[in-house]
Amino acid sequence: MVNFIWDNIFKRSERGRDLLHILGENYLFETLTKAELKFVKEMVHVRNYRPGEVVFRQGEIGVGMYLIASGSIDILVEDIPADKPEKQTVFVTRLGVGDFFGELSLVEENGRRTATAVTSVETTLIGFFKPDLIEIVERNPSTGVKIVTRLAEVLGKRLKETTVKVTELKREMRRQMEKP
């Protein structure tokens, strides 16, 4: 009985420490102090998923982002190719521990998910949503500013990458069209 109790307490504190550690290693929360991380820990939501479970679907209204604490996530995009009438699911990438996804929903107003996220194995995700971010900004603005600055950096990087890819695609299209 005693062992059971101690085991339980130990596990709980271990889980808390793990969560703190995972948050602290994430790019968005990297600049936060220990006290600020503890504050953020009280805001996030830990969710457990079975293999093959859908985290969100493309087209749904997104409320926030997820950070992978354990397991992995497949990002899929539903596409209707020009030559085929049916929808086709295209595998985009597999994300692992420490990766995060869906961060655009933190700044969008009723924004739609642009892809579907499905767990490939048993997965634990840390959900961080728009209302959580707003509450952090309201209650602890200095922490909020640090997170928002990092978030802006991430979104900026993603935009830059997208611009490069679009430019490449345009160039490729032009090349294809110029071919005799």
Binding site: E42, H45, R47, Y49, F56, E60, V63
Partner: protein, 355 residues
């Protein structure tokens, strides 16, 4: 069927989702049952929500200034408690005196009202010619008088209930502010994964809207009450404070409330044999208070928060009154707007699916 086949996996996920949804709804239903069935719990809970919506932003402000949340909450509750205690201590003798005067004067006022109705009835004799025969004065003597006396008789019981509610509500509000987030997170942890974002979104929309609604309506009631008191005090009308407080409380009921709030003052004026000018002045006071409310407070603070059509508001108030009486009238609008948010968000989620 193999255990790891997609079909069986889907089945397991669906079953797990249903179990979690069942657990979540059961906890909600149990909480609702406790709130409704346990004596004084509903009013205490509603009042504690009002307190937490009022004090919550102040706690956040102190937290922003670097004060620990528990310390900020405790300091604010102690300060408000001391201030309220002092106010009650200082005003209680005057309030008791007013209530005693009202209790003593009640038969006089009721007799006056009966006289008024009798004279009105004499003037309306022509209705008997078309088969309508209502003896309003008898009706008042038989029904209203005992009911009013009953209210005054039940005053000790009402004060006892009020005392319980006033002790329980701040206690609940304190923990709502201090640990509200922890409670909601624990409850939301039960929600199935596929419904989590939707539920969290609805919860926050309702919470935000309720907070804004409660703050706006209380501010509105306070302004209407103050303007009414100022006006009645300026024309030296009796029971100005009690009538202003009554007008402020009834003003919380849209459309019907302001009319109900005016009735006691008009009756008192009629019984006291007020002249046409005096009566006009009394009505002008209430009219100005409503004008300020309609022209400045409602368009600026209230209308943007709860976007319900006037017809919906009236229907909802009637339903509220029939189900829960005065309390139902007071809470019908926030409940209706919460339902509107929920239905709207769920509907959008289910139908407005875009790729």
């Amino acid at each position: 069927m193999a255990v790891n086949s997609p079909a069986s996996r889907e089945q397991i996920l669906r079953r797990q989702s249903l179990i979690r949804l069942g657990a979540f709804l059961s906890v909600l239903a149990l909480a609702l049952l406790i709130v409704v069935k346990v004596e004084n719990m509903l009013v205490s809970c509603l009042l504690s929500f009002v307190f937490s919506y009022l004090i919550g932003p102040l706690v956040n402000y102190l937290e922003r200034r670097g004060v620990d949340r528990v310390l900020a909450t405790t300091t604010l509750f102690v300060t408000i408690g001391v201030l309220l205690g002092l106010t009650i201590y200082l005003t209680l003798p005057m309030l008791v005196e007013r209530v005693q005067i009202m209790q003593t004067d009640l038969p006089k006022y009721m007799a006056g009202i009966t006289r008024l109705v009798e004279s009105l009835q004499v003037k309306m004799r022509f209705l008997q010619g078309i088969g309508v025969d209502i003896d309003v004065s008898d009706l008042i003597q038989e029904r209203v008088m005992p009911a009013t006396e009953q209210v005054f008789g039940a005053l000790p019981q009402i004060f006892k209930k009020l005392f319980t509610v006033l002790l329980l509500a701040p206690f609940l509000a304190f923990f709502m502010i201090k640990d509200g987030r922890h409670f909601s997170r624990t409850l939301l942890a039960l929600v199935p994964n596929n419904l989590f974002e939707l539920t969290y979104n609805i919860y926050h929309q309702i919470n935000d809207q309720m907070g804004q609604f409660v703050r706006a309506r209380l501010m509105e009631a306070a302004i209407v009450g103050f303007v009414t008191w100022l006006g009645l005090w300026m024309i030296s009308f009796p029971f100005a404070e009690v009538l202003a407080a009554f007008a402020a409380i009834t003003n919380l009921i849209p459309y019907v409330g302001p009319v109900i709030g005016t009735i006691p003052a008009v009756l008192i004026a009629m019984v006291n044999g007020a002249s046409a000018v005096e009566m006009s002045l009394v009505l002008l006071v209430y009219f100005v208070a409503q004008l300020i409310d309609a022209a400045f407070i409602i368009p600026v603070v209230v209308a943007k928060i709860v976007d319900l059509h006037p017809v919906t508001v009236i229907v909802v108030i009637i339903i509220g009154a029939q189900v829960m009486g005065v309390l139902g009238m007071l809470i019908s609008i926030p409940v209706a707007s919460a339902l509107k948010v929920t239905i709207g968000t769920v509907f959008r989620y289910l139908t407005d699916y875009r790729v």
